[in-house]
Amino acid sequence: MPVVTLYFNRITKLLGRKVSKEKIISTLPFLGLDIEEEASDHINVEYSPNRPDFSTDYGIVSGLQGLLGIKLGISPLKIKKGVDVIRADPSVGKVRPFIVAIKALNGKMDDETIRQIIAMQEDLHNGIGRRRKKVSVGIHDLDKIKFPLVYKAAERTHRFTPLGSQDEMSVSEILDKTETGQAYKSLLEGNTRVPVILDSTGNTISFPPIINSKLTEVTSKSKNLLVEITATDRNAAEDTLAVIAQTLQNAGFKLSSIRILGSRNSTPILDSRKMLLDPTLVNGILGLNIVPSVMVKSLRKNRLDAKIKGKQILCTIPRYRTDIFGPIDLVEEVALGYGIENLSPTIPQARSAGQKNHVTIALEAAKSTMIGLGYMEVMNFGLVGKQTQYDLTKRDSSNIIYVADSKSQEHQILRDALLPGLIDTLSRNIHESYPQKIFEIGTVFHKGNPIDEEIHLACISAHNDTSYTEIKSILQSFLKSGFDVACATKISQDPLFVEGRTADILVNGKKIGMIGELSPEVLGSFKMRVPTAGFEIKLTGLIFD
């Protein structure tokens, strides 16, 4: 989850009222923020990506002001109608069709403000922007730009000086040579032409979704900003703009609109929404019996507007609260404003007895029988590495089930047997005293559609006097005294076991598993020196259906 750094001295100034550090720290979790790290002058909090308005300290302060009762209700966006124009050329239709923009005027950009805004931009790119695929944001020094602007597709030979460079480069060079170019060039794959924003003098100001131009770089001297947002999803573009507009207004900028012309595009409207909330829903879901006026007050604490309208509550939701889908989300807002700590738990009585699944009951019996036979339970992963499962055990690997793009070699395939894991377990305990007798009960996977999932039991015994006879005796006693099942063993072959000391395990003539003494080659590849014997059987269909 993304992280925001809050400096206490800045927070105190922004809150507009003296609030103790302790009070701030203890209130933050009630905004749904997780405290990551505490230091003397700052605190790092994680916020959930469904609340992009918490991506700066301005947004978090707005939330704190509500819960602490410093400011209640909406702080409405005030956008002056502007006359400047961005025209979207039809040529961007196939690449990145949508653009929205706004001006933010007369603000002050100190270093921390710039840092907060850049961090917000990155979070928006990664969250709502889906790593810039859906939405990307460019923030520019407005005073370097001459309107009107045009948003169009340009050839890859198009040249300008990108941010972070001293020299003019072609689009192709930027994609191949700069860090962000390399990171995001895949987003433009399949398009010969790429989107650019040009101003009226022909200067390139942005190459979305890759990089801005050096010309319009924002510095601590910038007073007026242009925010442009390009997107493959118009709605997501407006959501993003709403968050940024609100943040910049909270940071002291005056907003002014920019007209957007061109096919499929239009000037964004960042108006708040109205939604009706039924108080009986609130009381029903929360298990409370509070009156509508309390609900109104609670909603206002979460920086929403609300008023009673007949038997309903009429809520006004600012445009940046994109996380509110319907009345149920307002119920949560009431709960947070009312205070989670004020909801006392109630214990509903069960009307019926609970019960374990029949599979669990059968497996519990299998487990206690194995323990009774003197075997210790171990637990291994179901998602395992190929080396142990097949290479070192010399097993047939023609039906491997792979997962895509695993981050670890040890977790690449779904196991189709438990014995390899048990052998590996023994090999990692060779310095411990013998005899070593272990078992595992777990799920194994076989190819098919759907994938066939079975529960197996495997058991293994390692000590100087172990033998086929010992392990067959365990198998036989397990089945007989555990489940009154008789089994037979029929000689067979398997690379895991010694030839002549290997058998198929049959129940009612049907093969349910393998048994044998482990082959010296397999033991050798696991660096084991003690004789070892084991078996593995399928429990699914045998002791439960």
């Binding site: 879901i285 298990g287 109630t346 487990k367 194995m370 179901g382 305990n429």
Partner: protein, 476 residues
């Protein structure tokens, strides 16, 4: 009741009744026990206060260079006497004797005079008196007779003569060794007599019931499995019935049915394990697919692709099993839970595993509330022995309102996050025809196990280290 002594102890005590102040080696000889048995027996007896051990030091003597010469040729004074006897009139000039005895002339004269074997008269040495063997000579012979074994100072009775010999340079070599001797105590004498009366090896064959013995290894269930069982028992005791489902699931039930948009970052391959090239043939009833697809298009203003819903994943939570059950069965009222392995494509670390166990419970009912959900948590925690818990708001894509519980861990002395919970969103329940609110909560079992067993690295639960598995107490 008298103390029962081990046969080894009995033998040692009997030997000590006969002779005190003996070394372990002596005891070994006396009792015919091996030296190791004797040493062990002595330790046991000492522990019971039946014997006492004295640490002493012993000096061992061997002949030095001078001693060996004396053995061969006699002491200097003996050589002088022999010389005098060999010459006529048994007397000579001092110088003559000096020439014969060389370096040994001075001690020879001094000692012979002291023994009254000679008389010196006007620079001549005259033999006189009897020349019997001296005590010093006897000591030299005694030492030589035992060679190569060194004898101790205790073996020599005439300490005065020994001192004289010591004074002669390089006649004797001394080495000293520490050693212990064993004595029987008074309590030991009683015990030995008792033992002699009461034990007869062939009849009772009593053993030392108080002696330490080696550990036996207990065959037992895995500690993590014990936590899973404990959690299961609590759910059953709270009236919940168990669901079991597959680890491999279609994206439809793992994500789409839970209103997680198809372009949600959690659905990307760097977070979720997709089975390579595997799509489900049939995922759900046509009506279920239709309704879910519609809510996605309305709620997320974006395309919804059936192919993406068919992709098979390793379930990232057990909620996929729960939601399918609720969609298929349409309960008016239910309490269900499931426990099982879930998978996340993470880098393995002390905090994260790619595969872990999750428990999840749901309550379906016409009038169930968020406060009920909180109450069930508190009840669950109480049964787990957790006394302090509190709730904070949080976000999950498929529940609203959503909370997370924080529990106070005594060992760590701080609040730690445990189960997440919430009420299923209408976007989840309505398309699947679920009419009543569904309270849901869940979390990782390993986290509980780490708190219970005091582990700081989650990987330890799957290491299968026998040293830990064999020693960790079943009840904590």
């Amino acid at each position: 009741m008298s103390q029962v002594l081990h046969p080894i102890e009995q033998k040692i005590l009997r030997a000590l009744l006969e002779k005190q102040n003996v070394t372990p080696d002596d005891l070994s000889e006396m009792t015919q026990l091996s030296i190791d048995q004797v040493r062990r027996g002595i330790e046991w007896l000492k522990f019971k206060d039946l014997v006492q051990i004295n640490e002493s030091e012993k000096s061992f003597i061997k002949l030095g260079e001078g001693g060996r010469t004396a053995l061969e040729k006699g002491l200097p004074e003996r050589q002088l006497v022999n010389y005098l006897k060999s010459i006529p009139v048994s007397s000579c000039e001092m110088n003559q004797a000096k020439e014969h005895l060389k370096n040994e002339f001075s001690p020879a004269i001094a000692n012979a005079k002291k023994n009254k074997w000679i008389e010196i008269y006007e620079n001549r040495i005259l033999l006189k008196g009897y020349h019997d063997a001296t005590a010093e000579e006897r000591i030299i012979k005694l030492i030589a007779s035992k060679d190569p074994v060194a004898i101790t100072t205790d073996d020599i009775e005439d300490k005065e003569a020994l001192d004289l010999l010591k004074k002669r340079p390089k006649f004797l070599n001394f080495t000293s060794t520490k050693y212990s001797t064993v004595n029987i105590t008074e309590k030991g004498i009683g015990a030995a007599q008792n033992a002699a009366q009461t034990t007869d090896d062939s009849v009772t064959r009593a053993i030392d019931v108080e002696a330490p013995v080696p550990m036996a290894f207990v065959a037992k269930s895995h500690p993590l499995a014990d936590v899973i069982d404990e959690v299961r028992e609590i759910f059953v005791s709270l009236g919940f019935s168990e669901l079991v489902g597959n680890s491999t699931q279609s994206s439809f039930w793992n994500f789409d049915a839970l209103f997680i948009p198809q372009d949600h970052p959690a659905r990307e391959m760097q977070d979720t394990f997709y089975l390579k090239d595997t799509s489900a043939k049939s995922i759900a009833k046509p009506k279920q697919i239709n309704q879910v697809s519609k809510i996605h298009k309305d709620g997320w203003h974006s395309d919804w692709k059936l192919d993406a819903a068919k992709k098979m994943v390793l379930r990232t939570h057990t909620t996929c099993v729960t939601i399918k059950e609720l969609a298929d069965k349409q309960y008016e009222e239910a309490r269900l839970f499931s426990i099982g392995r879930v998978y996340r494509n993470e880098k393995v670390s002390y905090k994260h595993l790619v595969e872990f166990n999750q428990v999840e419970g749901v309550v379906v009912g016409k009038n169930v509330t968020l406060r009920d959900l909180m109450g069930l948590q508190m009840e669950f925690y109480r049964k787990m022995g957790i006394k302090k818990a509190k709730f904070w708001p949080t976000f999950f894509p498929y529940t609203e309102p959503s909370l997370q519980s924080m529990i106070y861990n005594e060992r760590l002395g701080k609040w730690v996050e445990l189960f997440g919970m919430g009420i299923f969103r209408p976007e989840v329940t309505k398309p699947l025809g679920i009419k009543h609110p569904v309270l849901a909560w869940g979390g990782g079992i390993e986290r509980i196990a780490m708190l219970k067993y005091g582990l700081d690295d989650v990987r330890e639960l799957y290491n299968n280290k026998f040293s830990w598995l064999r020693s960790v107490p079943k009840c904590q």
